[in-house]
């Protein structure tokens, strides 16, 4: 990053975001530069505060403004049904489809020995603890259908095997290797309805 050039600096920072190449980053930079400075200030403050203002739910790992998230606090959500997802955008996609009435457990990652991610790097002890204390009957694993997603699902099944919990996997309505986030709502709804035991 060139120290002296603020334009190049912003282009380089924006260019590190997923889906944004150098051309888009340049366009965004000049757009911000051409807009009212109050917009840039508001954007900057919002970015600067995001980590402080958003918390990970201490129960499920979802994002929220408080210690526990809105879903975990909602008494109408079934406590006996848990859905395990890799990332928060997957949870958002499932919520949008309206096909699930239980609660979640967000792993914030997937098992990937080749990238050095092992079971201890994921909140799996918390998952087991929740199954023991919250009277969970069924855990639906909605990790992606990639090698890492499958391995994680099977590992969850191994870990929960001695517990009195049913473990199932969302059916493969989701395209192979596909990101849940980009799966349409009908497909996702079908995937939940047709889940299979693991």
């Amino acid at each position: 990053m060139s120290q002296g050039d603020p334009i190049a600096e912003l282009v380089s920072l924006l260019g590190r975001l997923p889906g944004i190449g150098e051309r888009t980053a340049t366009r965004l930079t000049f757009h911000v530069l051409g807009s009212d400075p109050t917009y840039a200030r508001a954007l900057g403050e919002s970015l600067a505060q995001i980590h402080g203002r958003v918390k990970r739910c201490t129960i499920c790992g979802n994002y929220g403004a408080e210690e526990t998230c809105a879903i975990c606090r909602d008494p109408r959500r079934e406590a006996e049904l848990l859905c395990v997802v890799a990332r928060v955008p997957d949870l958002v996609a499932i919520e949008r489809s309206g096909s699930f009435r239980g609660r979640y457990h967000v792993l914030h990652g997937l098992l990937a020995p080749l990238d050095g991610v092992g079971p201890d790097d994921l909140p799996l002890h918390d998952l087991v603890a929740r199954c023991e204390s919250d009277g969970v009957r069924e855990v639906v694993v909605a990790t992606p259908l990639s090698v890492e997603g499958e391995a994680t699902a099977l590992y969850v099944a191994e870990v929960l095997r001695p517990k009195r919990v049913k473990v199932s996997r969302i059916a493969s309505g989701v395209p192979h290797g596909g990101e849940l986030e980009f799966t349409d709502q009908i497909t996702l709804g079908r995937a939940f309805a047709g889940r299979k035991p693991l």
Partner: protein, 364 residues
């Protein structure tokens, strides 16, 4: 059953290896490309192979395919099949991604490209199929299956990734046995799909290979082609094998059981061809495998693929050379073959000869 052959009606290359700007209007049957060592004969086959396989058969990167004095290379072919001819266009740049055009448009998918052209290649490096370790024989099967079924490739790469992951776990000081078990399940499922597809393919190619070998080499030495899976390709069998070998796997630091250890066994007189056959017989075995490949692809796709033979005649005696060309002629496809001595190609009919000199092609 007579199938329509695929036929390259015109090939144009620009900036590919040492070929410069060249144009070739091949004949419908045998095309004999001859010239001295280093003239550019294999380069021409490489260009044709690239159209079909979208990679070099010599494992070359794009940079080495582009001519030394050029900044990009183009390979274009007009290919006649059953309906209207299609135009396939590949552009290779030194520093950017390869560009494909099918009838002037970007192909919808790689699968749609592969539907437009199929090639089968023999080159001297393929002799390791008969003389080498099981690895090249497995990839021989895998490459054919990938061409016949696009989902096979993704299942195989999932299997391989799961295998590398399990091996990585085995090498750790501390192992969570449950995470190994998770990979066992995946490997047994994907592995059964891979193993069953290979077994089915070998059932198809074995009799064809044995027949082709008999046609080329004569009856004195029957060839036996079998699929030898390390573990029977059933999910339960693979799972059991993985579970039972865990302690040994842990000690050696890798996974021993599963389709990654399968072999395509090639035997003559009940002895592995590797140890028993002569050099010329090795060549005949590999050619027989290629003929079988062409045959199964033809019946699957409904058209005879283009056959590319690099330096095929050396080491085969006159009698076997003649039989080989009789067999190849009976397949009815278009053939491109290279040689330093065109008089060694014992073909009287259906042939067009092209001379290559320093990358320049001329029809005789």
């Amino acid at each position: 059953m007579t199938l329509a052959p695929l036929r390259v009606e015109r090939l144009i290359t620009r900036g590919f290896r040492n070929l410069g700007v060249s144009r070739l209007d091949p004949g419908p049957a045998f095309n004999v490309i001859y010239g001295d060592n280093g003239a550019g004969k294999s380069n021409l086959l490489e260009a044709l192979y690239y159209l079909g396989a979208l990679r070099s058969f010599r494992g070359a990167k794009t940079e080495s395919l582009v001519g030394l004095d050029d900044d990009h290379a183009v390979v274009r072919a007009k290919v006649a099949g059953e309906a209207a001819p299609r135009v396939l266009d590949v552009r290779l740049d030194r520093h950017s991604a390869r560009k494909l055009r099918l009838d002037g448009k970007r192909p919808r998918s790689i699968a749609s490209w592969h539907q437009a052209i199929q090639v089968v290649l023999f080159h001297p490096g393929d002799l390791t199929l008969a003389t080498g370790s099981p690895e090249p024989r497995r990839s021989f099967l895998d490459r054919i299956l990938e061409q016949m079924d696009p989902t096979y490739g993704s299942t195989l790469s999932s299997y391989n990734k799961a295998l590398r992951s399990r091996n990585r776990l085995l090498k750790r000081e501390q192992v969570d046995r449950r995470s190994v078990r998770a990979y066992d399940t995946m490997l047994s499922q994907a592995g059964a799909v891979v193993g069953q597809a290979r077994a089915q393919l070998v059932a198809d190619i074995a009799p064809r290979t044995e027949r082709a070998f008999r046609d080329v080499a004569g009856v004195e030495l029957p060839l036996e082609v079998r699929y030898r899976p390390r573990v029977p390709p059933e999910p339960e069998a693979i799972l059991t094998a993985l579970r039972e070998s865990y302690d040994k796997d842990r000690a050696r630091g890798f996974t021993a059981e599963g389709p990654h250890a399968d072999d395509l066994s090639l035997r003559v007189r009940s002895v592995a061809a590797k140890h028993h056959a002569s050099q010329g017989q090795h060549r005949a075995i590999v050619l027989a495998l290629k003929v079988a490949e062409l045959d199964v692809l033809a019946s699957r796709v409904g058209r005879v693929p283009i056959l590319l033979l690099d330096d095929v005649s050396s080491e085969l005696d006159r009698r076997r050379n003649r039989r080989l060309f009789e067999l190849l002629g009976s397949l009815g496809g278009q053939v491109f073959l290279t040689t330093t001595h065109p008089e060694f190609i014992l073909l009287e009919h259906n042939r067009v000869d092209f001379r290559v000199e320093d990358g320049v092609l001329r029809r005789d």
